[in-house]
């Protein structure tokens, strides 16, 4: 079955920045990239949605706090509850937490500076819709860039995430933003919704990224949709 018949949407909010990069990654993975506008409820028949990085609404209040109320998000929330694969990258992760599709929250980096660097990660869960093309424990390098990337949650939530294997990726080396337990990404119970602070969409081409390690996030979702077990 040709993968490219799969339409994967990327929502643009006012202030989204990495939407074009996410669309490019979808294209390079072999699917059909579909730009979605935050003001539209209709998701244009996409089979999966990516919430890209950026500063939606300037992120002045709390990152993601305002974007969660957009019409497109209402449909994304419904879709996510019904099993549609949703990946939130950076600001998208923040939106997913604000929308309570994922537990916890993201706060200002502990060193209080924006940080952009090539980050080593370990993929801890290879069962999700977005990580099934990785090997268990695989180490990857992708860009990280955020000002509010510190993942926090109460201890009970953290323990539950660990116990259920819902920590998807963890930072290796220095913790870049003070995230509790070095958490870089998590998933919901069903494994269809993933939030990730680093940017796999910036690691899909030799020419422009530190590696091409990020591409497997975008091919994973296609495998999931085609139904080939990981």
């Amino acid at each position: 079955m040709a993968l490219s018949k799969y339409r994967v949407g990327v929502v643009t909010f006012p202030g989204s920045l990495d939407d074009r990069d996410a669309l490019r990654a979808v294209r390079l993975a072999g699917a059909e990239p579909v730009p979605l506008w935050h003001g539209e409820k209709w998701l244009s028949d996409v089979v999966a949605v990516i919430l890209p990085g950026g500063f939606s609404y300037g992120d002045y209040l709390r990152a993601g706090a305002i974007a969660r109320f957009s019409p497109a998000m209402q449909s994304v929330i419904d879709g996510a509850r019904n099993g549609m694969p949703v990946l939130g990258i950076c600001n998208g992760f923040q939106v997913l937490c604000e929308a309570h599709l994922l537990p916890g929250a993201l706060i200002r980096n502990d060193h209080r500076k924006f940080v952009c660097r090539d980050q080593r990660l370990r993929i801890e869960n290879t069962e999700t819709a977005w990580t099934n093309q990785y090997e268990a424990g695989q180490e990857i390098v992708v860009p990280l860039k955020n000002g509010e990337g510190g993942y926090v949650a109460d201890p009970a939530t953290l323990d539950a995430l660990e116990a259920d294997g819902r920590v998807v990726a963890r930072y290796l080396g220095d913790n870049p933003n003070g995230s509790y337990r070095a958490i870089a990404g998590i998933t919901n119970e069903a494994g269809n919704v993933v939030g990730l602070m680093p940017h796999p969409e910036h690691a899909v081409e030799e020419l422009t990224g530190p590696s091409t390690d990020g591409l497997a996030f975008f091919t994973s979702v296609l495998q999931k949709l085609v139904g080939i077990p990981a």
Binding site: L61, I66, A105, R108, H111, G150, V152
Partner: protein, 76 residues
């Protein structure tokens, strides 16, 4: 029209890097006697008198604060 103030602070168990940084800077400024600092947000709203308490509470609870990590107080 009324002025309503909403103050939002991080829950005590959540790390507050900004408050910590201020505490650290106090030494350099030669200011003694400050034992703790927490930084939160302060909102000043101008609202019509018709706006109810419930509306304000909903506004604070859903938009101005994230109850997962923050507490808020409303002063009308």
């Amino acid at each position: 029209m009324a002025r309503v103030v909403v103050d939002v602070v991080m829950k005590p168990e959540i790390l507050d890097p900004q408050g910590q940084a201020i505490l650290g800077a106090l030494g350099r400024l030669g200011i003694e006697g400050v034992r703790g600092v927490r930084q939160g947000k302060h909102f000043e709203l101008d609202v019509d008198d018709s706006v109810s308490e419930e509306t304000l509470h909903r506004l604070a609870d859903t938009l101005l604060a994230n109850p997962v990590i923050e507490d808020f107080s409303i002063h009308r």
